[in-house]
Symmetry: D2
Subunit: 433 residues, 4 copies
Amino acid sequence: MAKGLKIAVIGGGSSYTPEIVEGFIKHYEELPIRELWLVDIEQGKRKLDIVGELAKRMVVKSGLPIDVRLTLDRREAIDGADFVSTQMRVGLLEARKWDERIPNLHGIIGQETTGPGGMMKALRTIPVLLDICKDIEELAPNAWLLNFTNPAGMVTEAIARHSKVKSIGLCNAPIGLHKWLTKKYEVEAKRIYTEFVGLNHLHWVTRIEIEGEDKLTELLDKREEYSGKNVPATEWDPEFLRTLGGFPSYYLKYFYMQDAMLEDQLASLKANGTRAEVVKRVEDELFELYKDPDLQEKPKQLEQRGGAYYSEAAVNLMVSLRNDRRDIQTLNVANGRVLDFLPEDAAIEVNCVVTGQGPLPLPVTKVPEQAKGLIAAVKTYERLTIEAAITGNRGIALQAMAAHPLVPSVRVAKILLDEMLEKNKPYLPRFFK
Amino acid sequence: MAKGLKIAVIGGGSSYTPEIVEGFIKHYEELPIRELWLVDIEQGKRKLDIVGELAKRMVVKSGLPIDVRLTLDRREAIDGADFVSTQMRVGLLEARKWDERIPNLHGIIGQETTGPGGMMKALRTIPVLLDICKDIEELAPNAWLLNFTNPAGMVTEAIARHSKVKSIGLCNAPIGLHKWLTKKYEVEAKRIYTEFVGLNHLHWVTRIEIEGEDKLTELLDKREEYSGKNVPATEWDPEFLRTLGGFPSYYLKYFYMQDAMLEDQLASLKANGTRAEVVKRVEDELFELYKDPDLQEKPKQLEQRGGAYYSEAAVNLMVSLRNDRRDIQTLNVANGRVLDFLPEDAAIEVNCVVTGQGPLPLPVTKVPEQAKGLIAAVKTYERLTIEAAITGNRGIALQAMAAHPLVPSVRVAKILLDEMLEKNKPYLPRFFK
Amino acid sequence: MAKGLKIAVIGGGSSYTPEIVEGFIKHYEELPIRELWLVDIEQGKRKLDIVGELAKRMVVKSGLPIDVRLTLDRREAIDGADFVSTQMRVGLLEARKWDERIPNLHGIIGQETTGPGGMMKALRTIPVLLDICKDIEELAPNAWLLNFTNPAGMVTEAIARHSKVKSIGLCNAPIGLHKWLTKKYEVEAKRIYTEFVGLNHLHWVTRIEIEGEDKLTELLDKREEYSGKNVPATEWDPEFLRTLGGFPSYYLKYFYMQDAMLEDQLASLKANGTRAEVVKRVEDELFELYKDPDLQEKPKQLEQRGGAYYSEAAVNLMVSLRNDRRDIQTLNVANGRVLDFLPEDAAIEVNCVVTGQGPLPLPVTKVPEQAKGLIAAVKTYERLTIEAAITGNRGIALQAMAAHPLVPSVRVAKILLDEMLEKNKPYLPRFFK
Amino acid sequence: MAKGLKIAVIGGGSSYTPEIVEGFIKHYEELPIRELWLVDIEQGKRKLDIVGELAKRMVVKSGLPIDVRLTLDRREAIDGADFVSTQMRVGLLEARKWDERIPNLHGIIGQETTGPGGMMKALRTIPVLLDICKDIEELAPNAWLLNFTNPAGMVTEAIARHSKVKSIGLCNAPIGLHKWLTKKYEVEAKRIYTEFVGLNHLHWVTRIEIEGEDKLTELLDKREEYSGKNVPATEWDPEFLRTLGGFPSYYLKYFYMQDAMLEDQLASLKANGTRAEVVKRVEDELFELYKDPDLQEKPKQLEQRGGAYYSEAAVNLMVSLRNDRRDIQTLNVANGRVLDFLPEDAAIEVNCVVTGQGPLPLPVTKVPEQAKGLIAAVKTYERLTIEAAITGNRGIALQAMAAHPLVPSVRVAKILLDEMLEKNKPYLPRFFK
Ligand SMILES: [Mn+2]
Ligand SMILES: [Mn+2]
Ligand SMILES: [Mn+2]
Ligand SMILES: [Mn+2]
């Protein structure tokens, strides 16, 4: 321990990297990092160099003895690591563009994680992550893998079922909600108690208490909204919200407000192109900023990017794992016996006590009846998608697509699948053998 | 036993009655009926008289000592009965018309059992059935209640959870499939082995074997189709079918071929009105036939009506219950521990061994992964609907409607619900207190 | 099918063989056997020759075209078999003698299946059976293995968990109870309905109905007793029996009447030696009879031996499997979801519907609260014993012995284990590496 | 909150009271008590007065504004309470004497909680506790009931299943183990991580880690022993301990070392009488001390009494409940889905996160196979005992006694039960109607 930790960030050339570097600097005391390895692939070398140099400048400014290393050799970075974190995008924003655009062209929600396009993201990503896991099994068997790579729920489940790596899936939505509550009620974070039920990007918050007092009812009554920047605000039906039994994730609008969300997407597509294209422009601007040799800190503009608190979530988790802190965090882990209507090996997003030996999921005290059907339906889609990703079987992929609640028929499933597989050919060798 | 059985048929004025009377006559030896009570409500008296007189003529012709009684006094009919069978339609075909028409007007599948209109049918029917159950608890606590009243799955679950009556839900679809296989393969029924998984009007047949040999694969490969008369045939995607893992109930087309089915319905609505209106005309013709005082048997035309083998299913079940026959029948019963992703008290449609003490559900040996999500989603809708039926709570009803997989958004759910509740006002006193 | 079945009986030199041969002759029509292979080991050749020649004379007398083959080559017998049946005794009656005697010498129940001595039988037998299963996997992967080899519950569970062979465990106790009821109530077997709950040699009969009428209550009230010949009758406490909620297997006396049974055993040991020694004398006499070249049928004296109806149980099962008969038989199979307090892969003894694809366990409708603790305690002992058999780990064996409900302390467990392992050295190579 | 808490201690005349009063004084800041009510029954008035006056003197010395009230009116004490704590002994030490002595006289372990005598304690206590719960339901429905009354597991389960009171069962054994580890390893309590599996007085500690490092293995290897004062130390078999998979509660010696423990008890009985009689003498001496009007603090001698850390356990729990502290404590709560082999409503002793809304049980990460059988067997005994306590049914009581793992036969069960019921007649009106 004395010698400090080794951390490998896979996808280290991401525009998010300054955020996590800032987090590491801030929490150096509880998480004394000796080596921080930023890894990327050949194709991402340019971005890795830019953001990596910024990271080095940030560390220099901090005065901390953290050794920042940039590499294209994943195995070197993983070797002996204490924590491996992944934040990759197989196929880059170009692939995402089609995940969003193709469904839209057929009158279907285009969303890169929960929409049917998310299936392509899973098919591209899962095999790559499982390859990384093989390296971790071999080179850093005791490491914790923190997976931010979306679709984080499916990726986490694929890893849990198909590798021996100790892994945890992470999303910034739960911590984001906490931050929002903290500001709204002007209260310390630890005074707030929330209970999450569901899957990644498909959760309901079934308890919100401040100093033991229920706030959920008033939040639902007033139709208060916590929304990520990447999802437009739309009005909820008040009666529906009041009887739902949980504060819905903003991603649930894609299901509950399918028609309004689609309309909004189509208008936005016309005006600005896909979300991928918008993000691409933001990223390009960020990298322009990062190049500035005088910049020694995370630029304010990064906060526009959509991944707020991502760094805080990651650092919180590492600190608790390392220090056996036993605090409650909302994570993506194997269901175990928490939800009685899902298999034990299904990944869910749930409150966990983070011990030194890993997270222990807490029992849920309330599950909205309404939520069960949707959770089960999406989980069915997810499990079939994972199977398709591993086998490269088109029939299974079709079953998965047809099982997606936003896909109205097998006919449409077939069309979407065929077009999207074709577009993803370079990333899906298993489907084109 | 020596003195024979008492049977009460609630909704005895139904056009189906000659079918079941024929069944009773045919199986008199195994099911020696002393008294057959046909019960109906004031509103149905005319039909009861017509069909009741036909029933009497049929019995006279058979020469059997069965005493046929017509009554509007339900309690008299139930008192001391061995079997009570229900085949009712609260609100008659007029109410059904709106269950089908209102969704269609909003571009949604209109189907009286599995469509969102089925929710109204459940709301109208469940309280009436639970009232009947109170009479059975009091007057015939040992009777078996055979429930044919649709939506049979929800009605059966409501009874199982909210009364002490021993009840079983029945549908003619499973026996119909058997008959179809019998003819197709020219083989005795008992040589065929099938395994059903799912809910009423939402099942997959996961094993079809003839003398131990698998036939499911070829049936799926060839896209063979067994279809009830009330559902138009449409092409299945061959790849989808081949990888589905089960022979789908024809009701599943409403989910898997939502777009084609809707198109077909809208065309049909334009040409012939709703299915309710078509059925109404068929029924009127049947009753004209029934009036003929020379008619002493079930007229051939009844087979056009859509309830084929209904009588055979009912009589089969009564015979096995009475004689502890221990054969396998596909019935709607409480899940118990059969499907691990549903509550123990959820009604499912499953193979059962019918013993003298009631049906024992058999474990399922295969559950298509694809089916799980849809089963769970529909069951969530069903459970919320049952809760709404019992409480008269509009918020719960809205949750139910929004949970229906054929309803694309809360906005549409609200519209459908409001219009349909209004139209059903006379039958839904709990919602208009 | 036309060409008839091949059956391999492993342990074919057993004194029981004439019983099963008689069964095959009687049921030839439903079970047309072409080849009947009797297999034994070198050590059993003399007995195999004697009983094998008798089997041949029985078949000749029957006039049926069954080809009886005697062999010491197990693989030849298994190759392409439709059914494999095992009735072995690793270590012969000599080993059994010590299974009974050593516990008795320490004041503990000596019983070859349910007593702590049964653990040695399991340790000797499980590896041999798993070897046989490897041959079946290779040479007859579609064969059904019918396992009569005791301790049948543990052996069946070991096979189910550690091989791919389709196997079923069998005991004559359930069929024996049926026969007893048939005689007692002078009623056809199919009029009787019984429900069994528990494990092999540890079951409770929770429903006994004749033509739908409860007989369990009167049987318990009158302390009626069905007892195998190898267990002495002893008085049950009437209040205990009345409130127990099930008719106890006579093997349960070893637990419920531990003191009286032990006293009886010690007296009997003094007078006649162990049960093994008594059986040895009976067997020697049987083989003397079998030698008679004029004997062409099963001698009456075999019925004294203790395995009554064993043949009937085996033939019943084979007939139902071959003909998809779907009748109810009480068998040892994997628990699945039948008993919610045991693992899914635990072998239990339970009513099954025997289909052409194998037995399907029926749900239990009543489980005596009292029974649960004992079932769970014995199952824990069984699972640890299976683990010990496979690993040869003495620590696990000690855990198993200490978990046996008839062993009062770890100290005694250690003594029994050490003495018995030593005595079984030739049969337990895994423990003496 | 500002006005402070009201606490009712039922059985306030107990010799333990100074201990809990000391705790309240020490933790006043986190647990600001306004009123502390000590309640007892008429029979205990003398003791209540003595210990109550001491309590008052202790509070006066502390200078805190806590109002100590002594009363025989339970309802007055409960009315509006925030916490109710129970530490009663129905029948006093006199009844305990027979719980220990009668089994001993028949050669059976005499132990007031886990032995068969504990059944009498449960029969005497459960109805009284359920009466108290009725008062709490009426007068303090939001109160938390902290139950220390033994047998704490059964009492807690009875309350959870038969009342609506929010209750938690407590024992000082888990905290005692922690304290022992703290001293042994000279480390802060929060650096130690332990995981408990089992029931009250029947647990295994399956993980013991200090700063993330495993210590369980060495503790088992070295046969280190943490033992309560009331249980004599005896040697464990080293091989048994090493392969057991958990550090056993010292109460487990009654099962694992039944023979040695019985021998010890019989010797001790001869020398000093029962443990009850020894305790009686200790208590008499304590009350002599308490009478001293100059005594203003808990006397050192109380620590000899056996209930060490009892106060700390209680105060810890109250503090966490009141302040939503979310720390991990080992408590007796409903199983929920923690142990898959026990019913959801069975009380277990397990790690919980204590939130402001109550404890949430943590999943167990390891369950020794060996432990499962014994846990299930004891739980069966417990559930039957609870049913007997509520119904007063002798048949059920006999089933319970016969199910106790320390009772070797139904015959012995009957003898123990008859003698003990007779001796407890005054406290068991339900059994003598
Ligand atoms: Mn996310
Ligand atoms: Mn139907
Ligand atoms: Mn047997
Ligand atoms: Mn205790």
